[in-house]
C-alpha cells in the first residue's frame, strides 16, 4: 500500500500544478487563499472516508488468505499462523476461475469492441459532419441514456432468449450493452473540441471521410478512447443481472455470475465458505481495480484540452 501511496502523492503534485500555473510560490497555508486552506476537520473527514472505503478491500484480501475465518479484531491483521492459499484452490475447484475470467473478458471485450468501432463513427459524425437528421441522432443518444434497464428486462429476455434463441451465448450477453451511449457522448465531446477547419481543409484536399477519421481525428483523441474504454469496461465486467438471466450453462458464465451462484448455492458445502467467497471476490475485483489505478488520470480528467494540443 505504501508504494502506491508514494506514487500517488507524486502524481498528485503534478496534477495540482497543471491547472493553476499562475499560483504564487507561497502556496502553503499563509492565509492568502482561504479556500485552499484545508481545516483539520476536513482532513479527518477525508481520512475517515478513505478508511471506510478501503478497509473492506483490505479485509477481503486478509479474509481470503485465512485458514479459518477469524472475526475477532486480531483477524483484521495478518497472522502468519493463519495464512493459506487453500481458499483459492477451493474456489477454483467449485467454479473454474480461469474459465470465468475468460468469459468475463469475452463479454467485456465484445462490448468494448462494438462501442469503440461504432461509437467513434457516430461520435465523429455528430461532432464534425453536417447531415440531415444529425439533431435526431443526437437527441436519441441523450434520451437512450435515460431508459431504465428494468423496463427492458422482460422484453429483452423474451426477444433474445426466447425468440432469437441466444441463451447461453456470448452474443446474447453482449447485445443489450453493445454500444455504450455514454461512450458515444464522450467521443462526440472530444471530437467537438477539435477545430473544424482541420477537417474542412482535409476535405478540400480530397481525403475521404473514413480516411479523415482514421488518420486525423482518431490519433488526436486517443485519451478519449482510453476514457471510453474505462467507462465501458466497468459496466459489463461488473454486470450481474443480465448475464445471470441469459447463461444457465456454467462453462459460459462470467465470473461475477459464477461467483454469485457460489455465494447463494454452493458456499455452504465448502470447508471455509467465507475464505472461498473472498478468494473469488479478490480474483473478480483485481482486474478492475488494477486497470483503474493504472489509468486513473484518464478517468478523472474531464478536460483534455492540453492533451489535444500537446
Amino acid at each position: 500500500m505504501s508504494v502506491t501511496n508514494a506514487q500517488n502523492a507524486k502524481n498528485d503534485d503534478d496534477a495540482s500544478r497543471r491547472p493553476e500555473p499562475a499560483e504564487p510560490v507561497l502556496r502553503p497555508d499563509l492565509g492568502v487563499e482561504k479556500r485552499r486552506n484545508l481545516g483539520v476537520g476536513s482532513f479527518i473527514l477525508l481520512c475517515v472516508g478513505a478508511f471506510v472505503f478501503l478497509f473492506p478491500f483490505y479485509y477481503m484480501l486478509i479474509g481470503s488468505l485465512q485458514t479459518a475465518p477469524d472475526t475477532s479484531i486480531f483477524g483484521a491483521f495478518p497472522n502468519p499462523a493463519n495464512i493459506t492459499g487453500a481458499n483459492y484452490v477451493q474456489i477454483n475447484e467449485s467454479i473454474n476461475l480461469f474459465r470465468g475470467l475468460l468469459n468475463s473478458g469475452i463479454f467485456t471485450g465484445g462490448v468494448i469492441l462494438f462501442t469503440v468501432i461504432f461509437g467513434l463513427l457516430v461520435g465523429y459524425a455528430l461532432a464534425q459532419m453536417k447531415f440531415r437528421g444529425r439533431g435526431v441522432v443526437f437527441g436519441m443518444m441523450l434520451l437512450v441514456q435515460m431508459i431504465p434497464f428494468q423496463l427492458l428486462l422482460i422484453p429483452l429476455y423474451v426477444m433474445i432468449v426466447r425468440d432469437y434463441g441466444l441463451a447461453d451465448s456470448y452474443l446474447g450477453m453482449i447485445m443489450p450493452f453493445a454500444i455504450n451511449s455514454t461512450a458515444v457522448f464522450v467521443f462526440r465531446q472530444y471530437f467537438l473540441q477539435l477545430p473544424s477547419t482541420l477537417f474542412e481543409a482535409a476535405r478540400i484536399d480530397g481525403a475521404s471521410e473514413l480516411r479523415i477519421l482514421w488518420q486525423i481525428a482518431i490519433p488526436l483523441v486517443r485519451p478519449a478512447i482510453v476514457t471510453a474504454v474505462l467507462l465501458t469496461f466497468i459496466g459489463p465486467w461488473n454486470e450481474f443481472l443480465w448475464p445471470f438471466l441469459v447463461t444457465k450453462e456454467q462453462s459460459l458464465q462470467p465470473l461475477a455470475v459464477s461467483l454469485a451462484n457460489f455465494i447463494s448455492n454452493i458456499a455452504g458445502q465448502a470447508g471455509n465458505p467465507f475464505g472461498a467467497i473472498l478468494a473469488g471476490a479478490c480474483v473478480l475485483a483485481a482486474p478492475a481495480v488494477a486497470l483503474f489505478i493504472f489509468f486513473q488520470r484518464q478517468f478523472i480528467s474531464t478536460n483534455i484540452g492540453s492533451s489535444v494540443k500537446g
Binding site: N8, F131, R134, L142
Partner: protein, 321 residues
C-alpha cells in the same frame, strides 16, 4: 426532463440543408441530406442498434403488459389476447409487490439524502486538499469500479452474526443480526449501496465544484463569512444543478436494485423485508413464468421513478425553472 434537454440544445432540431438548396436542381439532391451525407452512414449502425435493442423493447414492454403473455418456444405462434389493465391490477394488488415498493421507499429515504450529503461533503473537502489528493480520490472510487458481487462477499463477512462489526459492537450488536433482521435488512442494503456508489457521485460533484469561481469565496472571506457560511451560501447553491443530477441518478440506481437483495440478504429476505421491485420482477416473470405481470410491474416502477424524479427536481432544483 428529457424533452427539455433535447429541445434546449442548439444542435438538435436543426437539420442541415435549409435555405441553401434553392432551385439548384443538380445540387438539390446532395444538399437534401446535408453537406456530408456520409454522416448518415456513419450513424446508421448506432441508430439501428438503438432502435432494435433499446427502443423496440421499450414499446414491446408496454405491449406485453397489456396482453396475456407467456413464454413459448421460438417461432411458435400462439394467441395472446389483449387483457386491458388486468396485469396492472394483478401487480398492484399483490402484497409482495406492495411490500417491495415500501422497501424501495425505505431504501430511497436512507440512500438519497445520505448520498447527496456525503458526496458533497467529501467532494468539497477533496476539492480543497492539495496533498494526497490522488490517493483520497482513488480510494473513494475503488468501491464504485468493483463488481458488486465481489464486495457483497466482504459485507456478508463483516455483517454476519459473529462478524467483525458485531464483535466490535459487543453488547450493542443487534439481534437478530443486520442482514437477517427484518427491520435492519433494508437499511443495511441502503448503506451498502450508498457506500458502493458514492465515488461516482463525488466525481460528479468535483466537476461541478470546479465551476464555482474562487472570487466568491474570497469576497465571502473578506466579509467575514466562516467556512460553514461559505459552504451553505456559496457551495450548496453553486452545485445545485449537480445536486439535481445526483438525486436523480441515485433514485434511478436505487430503483434498479437487484444484486444486493439477491445476494446480501439471500433473495430479499427475511420474509420479503428487503425484496426490491426488480427482484419481484425476476421472481414473477422468469421464475414463475408470468412475463406479462412482470412487464406491468416494470412500467409501474418506471412511472413511479419519474414521479419521484419530478418531485425531487422541484425540491432540490429551487425555483429557477
Amino acid at each position: 426532463m428529457s424533452l427539455r434537454s433535447s429541445s434546449g440544445n442548439p444542435v438538435t432540431g436543426k437539420p442541415a440543408g435549409g435555405p441553401a438548396d434553392r432551385r439548384l436542381v443538380p445540387r438539390k439532391r446532395k444538399n437534401f441530406l446535408g453537406p456530408q451525407p456520409l454522416g448518415l452512414l456513419f450513424s446508421a449502425p448506432y441508430v439501428i442498434y438503438v432502435l432494435a435493442v433499446l427502443a423496440f423493447p421499450l414499446g414491446y414492454a408496454v405491449y406485453i403488459s397489456f396482453h396475456d403473455f407467456f413464454f413459448t418456444a421460438p417461432r411458435v405462434k400462439v394467441d395472446r389476447p389483449f387483457v386491458g389493465f388486468d396485469n396492472y391490477i394483478a401487480v398492484l394488488s399483490d402484497p409482495a409487490v406492495q411490500r417491495s415498493f415500501l422497501n424501495i421507499g425505505v431504501f430511497l429515504i436512507i440512500n438519497v439524502p445520505l448520498t447527496v450529503g456525503l458526496s458533497l461533503l467529501l467532494a468539497n473537502a477533496l476539492n480543497r486538499i492539495t496533498r494526497f489528493k490522488t490517493f483520497f480520490r482513488l480510494s473513494y472510487y475503488v468501491p464504485y469500479v468493483t463488481a458488486s458481487v465481489a464486495v457483497v462477499g466482504v459485507w456478508l463477512f463483516l455483517f454476519q452474526q459473529n462478524g467483525l462489526l458485531n464483535t466490535l459492537l459487543g453488547p450493542l450488536a443487534p439481534t437478530p443480526s443486520w442482514l437477517v433482521n427484518s427491520w435492519l435488512a433494508m437499511p443495511t442494503v441502503a448503506l451498502y449501496v450508498t457506500w458502493k456508489q458514492l465515488g461516482f457521485f463525488i466525481l460528479l460533484y468535483l466537476a461541478a465544484l470546479q465551476n464555482i469561481p474562487d472570487e466568491l469565496y474570497e469576497s465571502a472571506a473578506v466579509d467575514g463569512g466562516n467556512k460553514w457560511v461559505q459552504f451553505w451560501n456559496i457551495t450548496v447553491p453553486g452545485v445545485r444543478p449537480a445536486s439535481v443530477l445526483v438525486t436523480l441518478l441515485a433514485t434511478i440506481t436505487g430503483a434498479n436494485l437487484f444484486t444486493e437483495p439477491y445476494l446480501l440478504t439471500g433473495g430479499g429476505g427475511p420474509d420479503g423485508a428487503s425484496a426490491s421491485p426488480v427482484f419481484i420482477m425476476y421472481q414473477r416473470g422468469l421464475l414463475q413464468g408470468n412475463p406479462d405481470v412482470a412487464a406491468a410491474l416494470g412500467v409501474v416502477l418506471v412511472i413511479g421513478v419519474l414521479l419521484i424524479a419530478l418531485i425531487q427536481k422541484r425540491l432540490v432544483g429551487g425555483k429557477e425553472d
